[in-house]
């Protein structure tokens, strides 16, 4: 929708879905140059799953089971985002329902992959969403060997479907936009990090606690979401693009080959191609889950004993959307006295705004409707979790 005179364009994109929450985008253009971009979020992101912050070292079997649970979450989340939320952007469809009309076989494939992720979550975590089998120190109950082994066949099928997914999304048309990112992702020397490792940036790694000190979140008056900056100054990006940029060489061969066949090489700095990176990560998550399933041995004890003590614990994991940091002050009774949760969206916020600036600068020749569509895509590229509302974007372009 366009309001106002030519010198001051106002484009409203109300009623937009496929992004989590309620927000608005305001762009000011002066002499053909974007001078101000603000993505406002009116509701803080929902908390992701609680992660152990007690500094407890679990044994390898419990660790493997946790990693398997995370793989299930990645499979579930990436399949959903690729097929139902992001792909419609590239195929001219308003939503997943239109896409299902256009390509029912493709959408069915995506839903089958997602269901396999659910099955993994259900089997390990006790439920497909908000797992109830997870506890500090491990799990309440170890899954039976047979139930884990039964995941192998669905995971093989899901891996094949994920490979088809890479091929499918690689064929999309991508706007020629590149951004400059300061990437942050977890680093684990022997694997593509998901559930452990140290935050890595600028070629070196930090402990989770050190990262918590330099990643400073700020309140911004126009938004209820916190905005994270490094050293209170610099924007940075977490999530698939960051993980792929820093850890691509640690992907298994099947995922590396799929990326190469799709013409995807690290680092990828075109945010619109994040859908291809997600698809490659989908192959990885299925393959990794299969590897863990084939080697599964039930933990001797489902959880190790954790004795409460007054301490501060910090932990980082790679949620599908990006780095997730939890930090807790715990007293002698195990009561949490202070909690800090820094989700991916607050960390990516400033980079998303910078992407928008580039997209608008490159797209000033587009008409309002096309520019609006392109901006919405630019936000969805990073799969932000703003909240549970549906209408998120009120785009205002002011030209003077």
């Amino acid at each position: 929708m366009t309001h106002g005179a030519r010198s001051s364009r106002t484009i409203s994109a109300e009623g937009i879905s496929r992004v989590e929450g309620e927000g608005s985008l305001r762009v000011r253009v002066q002499d053909g140059r974007v001078v101000d971009v603000a993505l406002d979020i009116f509701e803080p992101p929902r908390c992701l799953a609680m992660e152990d912050a007690c500094g407890v070292v679990v044994d390898e079997r419990i660790e493997a089971l946790r990693r398997l649970l995370y793989c299930g979450e990645w499979i579930q989340s990436h399949a959903l985002h690729i097929y139902l939320l992001h792909a419609p952007d590239f195929l001219g469809c308003a939503d997943a329902v239109e896409l299902a009309d256009l390509d029912p076989i493709g959408v069915t494939r995506g839903l089958d992959i997602k269901r396999t992720g659910n099955l993994v979550m259900q089997t390990v975590g006790g439920r497909a969403v908000h797992p109830v089998n997870v506890r500090v120190g491990g799990f309440y109950r170890s899954p039976e060997l047979d139930s884990i082994r039964a995941l192998a066949e669905p995971l093989r099928r899901a891996r094949d479907a994920a490979l088809e997914t890479v091929e499918w999304v690689a064929g999309f048309e991508f706007p020629d936009v590149t951004s400059e990112y300061r990437f942050v992702a977890l680093d684990q020397s022997d694997r593509y990090a998901i559930d452990g490792g140290r935050p890595s940036l600028d070629g070196h790694t930090l402990s989770a606690a050190q990262f918590a000190e330099i990643a400073v979140e700020e309140h911004v008056e126009r938004s209820t979401a916190l905005h994270a900056k490094l050293d209170g100054r610099d924007r940075y990006l977490t999530g698939p693009l960051a993980r792929f940029a820093l850890n691509a060489s640690r992907l298994p061969e099947v995922a590396r080959d799929a990326a190469a066949a799709a013409g995807l090489y690290a680092p990828c700095v075109n945010p619109f191609r994040s859908i291809v990176v997600r698809a490659v990560e989908l192959v990885f998550a299925c393959d990794e889950a299969l590897r863990l399933v084939e080697r599964y041995e039930p933990p001797v004890q489902p959880a190790i004993e954790v004795v409460a003590r007054a301490a501060t614990g910090t932990a980082t994991t790679e949620a599908p959307r990006g780095l997730l940091l939890h930090q807790y002050d715990i007293d002698d009774d195990g009561i949490i006295r202070r909690a800090r949760i820094m989700p991916p969206t607050s960390q990516n916020q400033l980079s998303i705004e910078d992407d928008l600036r580039r997209v608008v600068e490159n797209g000033l020749s587009l008409d309002d409707e096309e520019l609006q569509w392109r901006c919405e895509q630019a936000v969805r590229n990073h799969d932000p979790c703003i909240s549970c509302a549906a209408h998120f974007l009120d785009l205002t372009v002011e030209t003077s």
């Binding site: 879905s17 496929r18 992004v19 989590e20 929450g21 959903l80 985002h81 139902l84 939320l85 939503d95 997943a96 329902v97 299902a100 009309d101 029912p104 959408v107 069915t108 839903l111 997602k114 269901r115 659910n118 439920r127 497909a128 969403v129 908000h130 969805r380 799969d383 932000p384 979790c385 703003i386 549970c388 509302a389 549906a390």
Partner: protein, 166 residues
């Protein structure tokens, strides 16, 4: 135990038992299915997309969920969705059931999607129970607890009706 012929009936409970009255959907669905063993329970769901694959080929799907509409606590509401002629109904606008987000799709959007890929059930009924408390914690509030038997009876009635027509 009731001996019935086998119309496929899926009873889906939505909500979390760790958020007080939000757990009533799953509780009611479980209890109803326990009374009619030929029906199939799914829960505790939070994402309507997870109905896909569970409701394929179903003659009837009953979704049970806590609602927050401003009606007196414990009030039951029954909404039947016209699966065949589904269009942009008031349900989308008023309840948000048709919305989608980065975490999933609303129930109506999922139904439309299911129709597009030939996985929609023949009939869909939603039974809502007005809740009072949705904060963290277990246990239902008294008025919601008191409404459970009637809600279970209503679900059972739908199951029996579907199975007697099969």
């Amino acid at each position: 135990m009731i001996d019935t012929r086998t119309a496929k009936v899926v009873v889906a409970g939505f909500g979390s038992e760790y958020r007080h009255d939000d757990g009533v959907g799953t509780l009611v669905a479980e209890r109803a299915v326990a009374q009619v063993s030929t029906s199939h329970f799914v829960g505790s769901l939070s994402d309507p997309l997870d109905l896909l694959g569970e409701w394929n080929g179903a003659d009837l799907v009953i979704v049970v969920d806590a609602i927050h509409s401003g009606a007196p606590v414990g009030t039951l509401q029954t909404i039947e969705i016209d699966v065949e002629n589904l269009s942009c109904t008031a349900l989308d606008a008023e309840s948000g059931a048709g919305e989608s987000s980065t975490h999933g799709l609303g129930l109506v959007a999922v139904l439309r999607l299911a129709r597009a890929i030939n996985q929609a059930p023949r009939r869909l009924v939603i039974i809502g129970i007005e809740g009072e408390r949705f904060d963290l914690g277990e246990g239902l509030s008294a008025s919601v607890e008191a409404a459970v038997p009637e809600a279970v009876a209503r679900v059972v009635e739908f199951i029996k009706e579907a199975q007697s027509c099969a």
